[in-house]
């Protein structure tokens, strides 16, 4: 029996505001525990929330960038449950009247583009952090830090339009890129500023109804999302093939063991008892405000990619890679500005530069080679001052030391010998010194050509301009 996977994804993204959603405490990560708190975010008796306007602005941006409809009237609601990281015993979120609904983003799948629907985007507050073990010693306690309580989140719920783990990954990458392009989220999955839960069910191919779905949690990277979905598809397929029923439950991804495990037994009936938060008044979005925000939107990934293809004449694949992050796209464009040969720049960035960055696990923003410097290097190759091969080692040096290309070339005396007269004389000398090989070549042994090139390179410590060497050798032979 062939099954089709129906997948929906829920993303929680932390917004890059200075202060929390309902109070003025700082959102900065990494402070000493319980030092970024106040009566409001710790739920002290008598405290009251006041909405950070920037959170609304950022959410509108996210809604516009994902083609959502912005609700004319929106309201916060209380989601009531007990947990030590939830100081008020309820989370302020949105329920019946979210800020945005009915949008979509486009992803690339083999065979073209696909629209993945977005059901809703709403605002809510983050909870605190729980620490269960300080050391390997068995602890009888858990520890609560409320610094993170009240950091603003948007929850983005996709429609169940995703059909494979690959599509899920593509959706997440695209969504993350959009939020980062908007500068509203830093997309850091490891640190928890971009989190993903999945809902997945299977149905026999061709059928219309929906199967029983399970919810997957605890996937902290794109790879883990894909692996978890892969595993769950196999698990559900096996059960269904044996005629067993799928239990609706929440399952945690265990990366170490590569399996999803049921939370059954620890799962309780959650009745959140949502009701409109009486402490927060409704939000009425003025269309003029939306237009003002729309006019400040940056060029988004898809539009940038299309433009790169048109403007720079680079292939789609290259454009996709170069526009996967805004800093990288900016780097590319800066480089092209200084050295207007877009295809060459693209090749260099995608091969040499990204490789070095990946080795170091660094981001483009931390790259020791500024765009102008790379451009300068490329110019040197273009002018024939150094060979392409030499340039690669120069680049490595540039990356390690941060020095400019010219400095390195000068310091190491690496400029190519492009003096035709000098090279011609050298070639003549070498040919004169190896009559046997010359004879062999003229008799048809073409491989000997390489020997002569090698000799020239040896004599010039690799600095001879290979093009010229080839030309001159051919002429002389």
């Amino acid at each position: 029996m062939e099954y089709e996977a129906i997948i929906g994804l829920e993303v929680h993204a932390q917004l890059l505001t200075e202060s929390k959603i309902f109070c003025g405490c700082s959102t900065l990560f990494g402070a000493e525990p319980n030092t970024h708190t106040c009566p409001v975010c710790t739920g002290l008796p008598g405290s009251l929330p006041v909405l950070n306007k920037k959170v609304v602005e950022f959410t509108i941006k996210a809604a516009l960038a994902t083609n959502c409809r912005i609700a004319p009237r929106s309201q916060f609601a209380r989601k009531n449950y007990f947990y030590p990281d939830l100081p008020k015993g309820y989370q302020i979120s949105q329920y019946e009247l979210p800020l945005a609904t009915d949008g979509y983003i486009e992803i690339q799948v083999d065979g073209g583009k696909k629209k993945i629907g977005i059901q809703r985007i709403h605002m809510e507050e983050d909870a605190g952090k729980l620490i269960h073990d300080f050391s390997s010693a068995r602890e009888a306690h858990s520890y609560v830090d409320f610094n993170r309580t009240g950091v603003p989140l948007i929850e983005i719920v996709s429609a169940p339009d995703i059909r494979s783990p690959e599509e899920a990954s593509a959706y997440l990458r695209k969504l993350r890129a959009i939020l980062m392009f908007l500068d509203i989220c830093d997309g850091n999955m490891e640190e928890g500023s971009f989190r993903c839960d999945a809902n997945i069910s299977l149905r026999p191919k061709g059928e219309k109804g929906l199967g029983v779905k399970t919810e997957l949690k605890n996937m902290n990277s794109f790879r883990n999302v894909q692996k978890a979905l892969d595993f769950e598809i196999r698990r559900q397929t096996a059960l269904l093939d044996q005629g067993e029923k799928i239990i609706q439950e929440t399952r945690l991804w265990d990366a170490a063991r590569g399996v999803t495990a049921s939370m059954r037994g620890k799962e309780e009936a959650h009745d959140y008892r949502y009701f409109p938060d009486p402490d927060l008044v409704p939000i009425v979005i003025d269309p003029a405000w939306v237009e003002e925000i729309r006019s400040t939107l940056p060029e988004l990934p898809d539009a940038k990619k299309e433009r790169f293809i048109q403007e720079y004449g680079i292939p789609e694949y290259d454009a996709e890679v170069l526009t996967s992050s805004k800093p990288l796209a900016n780097y590319y464009e800066n480089c092209v500005r200084f050295f207007p040969q877009p295809k060459i720049v693209s090749n260099w960035i995608m091969s040499e530069l990204l490789r070095e960055l990946k080795k170091d696990e660094r981001e483009i923003e931390e790259c020791s080679v500024p765009a102008e410097n790379l451009a300068a290097l490329l110019r040197l190759i273009d002018e024939g001052v150094i060979s392409g091969k030499m340039a690669k080692s120069v680049f490595e040096e540039m990356y390690q030391t941060g020095q400019k290309a010219e400095e390195i070339v000068k310091a190491k005396g690496l400029s190519q010998l492009s003096d035709a007269e000098a090279l011609t004389k050298l070639v003549e000398d070498i040919l004169a010194a190896h009559p046997k090989e010359v004879a062999e070549y003229r008799q048809g042994k073409e491989k000997v050509f390489g020997f002569f090139v090698g000799q020239v390179m040896k004599a010039t410590q690799g600095k001879a301009n290979p093009r010229l060497v080839n030309e001159i050798l051919k002429k002389k032979l």
Partner: protein, 485 residues
């Protein structure tokens, strides 16, 4: 005449005239507390040190000519309002040792006005009750008859004012908790328009209904206290940004031709005969003063108690979820597991009425019942609001008795929750509609128990109801009678 027997405005004259000092006034009130507090039990915490320090500070300001109407005036603060330096208990075991690390806006305003705080007043636990019998710290006794309750939930505040254990007090009102005890204790109590006074620092019971307000010996004091505590608050999203009038400046205007509506639904079922009699006498007095009396109808008023006892407990069940033993408040001993910690701490920390309302509220919001209860009640709330607006199309203010009976006996209603809830039948509609309402003494029963008249105005028309109240008060002398203590 002892200093503690005077009103704030009388004391103010003496202060700026240099005839008396703030410290003398405070000492007089503290002595009075020492005298009668054992009988009344109006306070959970008395704060003589703070009070005398503040009084000394007030004397400095008075010397410099910087005195305002409340400078040097000793106040009782209902223990649901956060004040630093001593516990804010909300009348509950669960907050018995809670020292707030911040203060309510109204406290900041009163400190800036130079007021003196003599103590935190007793109350029904988390403001849930109509008799102050639900206090973890024991009940307060009505100064007019120590076997009766002072009303609630601001019973401590009302009793303290009536017994001269403070010059004036702050209470909070969610379903009548200022007005009803004011009526039971023969003092003035004002619930402002919702959003008039900041709720920042007021421990929440029902967020869409709670308001802080004054309890005082006369209308002028109430007007002055209201002016000081009112005003827009950026830390409270439900606070309304409108200028605050000098309410006392409006007093003394005539009420000729002011249209006042008597709500006919008050007389449909067994209203206590003495309350009825005092009420109609008061109506008569107002007519004599020139007011035009009409009959109005609030057809959905009979449903108000049901609406209130769904909405208020629902909001309360959510507001009280934070009392979980994690960050502050009572945590049960000997618990080594999370669920037990929650259940034991809350079950041991909360009293029966609080638990009852949390259960009611949780149920009203729960899956399958939200539509039938919370949402339905909220829709009827709209109907009640509309009734009032229709009435206000014809009248400037409305009249009702404050409470269906004078103060009842301790223990009389404690075992019948529904009966207790019905004590709020006349005060609840105001909170549901967010309207300002006040209670002033309008008579006494044969047994010598005070009876209150309730005057209700449209949104942000406190000055009108205070005007009417003042006109009535100046024409009568109910407010001058004092209990025999």
């Amino acid at each position: 005449m002892e200093l503690y027997q005077l009103t704030a405005h009388e004391l103010h004259k003496l202060l700026i005239g240099g005839e008396v000092t703030a410290q003398e006034i405070t000492r007089s009130v503290l002595e009075r507390i020492a005298q009668v507090e054992k009988k009344i039990h109006a306070y959970i915490t008395v704060s003589p040190d703070l009070a005398l320090t503040q009084a000394a500070q007030a004397d400095e300001w008075i010397k410099k000519g910087q005195a305002g109407p409340l400078t040097g005036i000793p106040l009782a603060i209902k223990d649901i309002i956060c004040l630093q330096g001593m516990p804010t208990t909300c009348g509950s075991h669960i907050l018995e040792n809670f020292y707030p690390p911040y203060e309510a806006t109204v406290i900041e305003k009163l400190k800036a006005a130079g007021a003196v705080f003599v103590g935190k007043a007793n109350m029904d636990e988390f403001a849930m009750g109509s008799s102050t019998e639900n206090s973890y710290f024991g009940p307060t006794y009505n100064p007019w008859d120590l076997e009766r309750t002072p009303g609630g939930s601001s019973g401590g505040s009302a009793a303290a004012v009536a017994a001269d254990e403070c010059i004036a007090a702050l209470g909070s009102d969610t379903g009548g908790s200022i007005r009803q005890p004011a009526a039971c204790c023969g003092v003035v109590g004002v619930k402002p328009t919702y959003g008039r006074v900041s709720r920042y620092g007021l421990v929440a019971f029902a967020s869409s209904l709670d308001q802080i307000g004054p309890l005082t010996k006369d209308v002028r004091d109430a007007a002055q206290l209201l002016t000081v505590i009112s005003g827009h608050e950026p830390r409270d999203s439900t606070s309304i940004n409108l200028p605050v009038p000098d309410y006392a400046a409006h007093l003394g205007k005539e009420i000729k031709a002011v249209k006042i509506g008597v709500v006919k639904e008050c007389f449909e079922e067994g209203l206590d005969l003495e309350v009825k009699a005092s009420f109609w006498q008061a109506v008569n007095t107002l007519a004599q003063l020139g007011a035009e009396i009409k009959e109005v109808s609030l057809p959905h008023m009979p449903y108000a108690v049901a609406v209130y006892y769904i909405i208020a407990p629902a909001e309360a069940s959510s507001n009280l979820a934070r009392y979980d033993g994690v960050k502050y408040g009572y945590r049960a001993k000997g618990v080594s597991e999370l669920l037990s910690m929650y259940e034991q701490s809350r079950s041991q920390g909360f009293g029966a009425e609080v638990k009852r309302r949390i259960m009611l509220g949780t149920y009203a919001l729960s899956a399958g019942y939200y539509e039938a209860y919370y949402r339905k009640a909220s829709q009827v709330r709209t109907l009640i609001g509309r009734d009032f607006q229709e009435a206000f199309a014809e009248c400037t203010a409305l009249l009702m008795p404050t409470a269906p009976t004078p103060a009842f006996r301790l223990g009389e209603k404690v075992d019948d929750p529904l009966l207790m809830y019905l004590s709020d039948i006349f005060t609840i509609p105001c909170n549901l509609a967010g309207l300002p309402g006040l209670s002033i003494p309008c008579g006494f029963s044969q047994a010598g128990l005070p009876i209150g008249l309730q005057i209700i105005g449209n949104h942000f028309q406190e000055e009108i109801i205070l005007q009417i109240a003042y006109a009535f008060e100046q024409h009568t002398d109910f407010h001058r009678r004092k209990p025999n203590l």
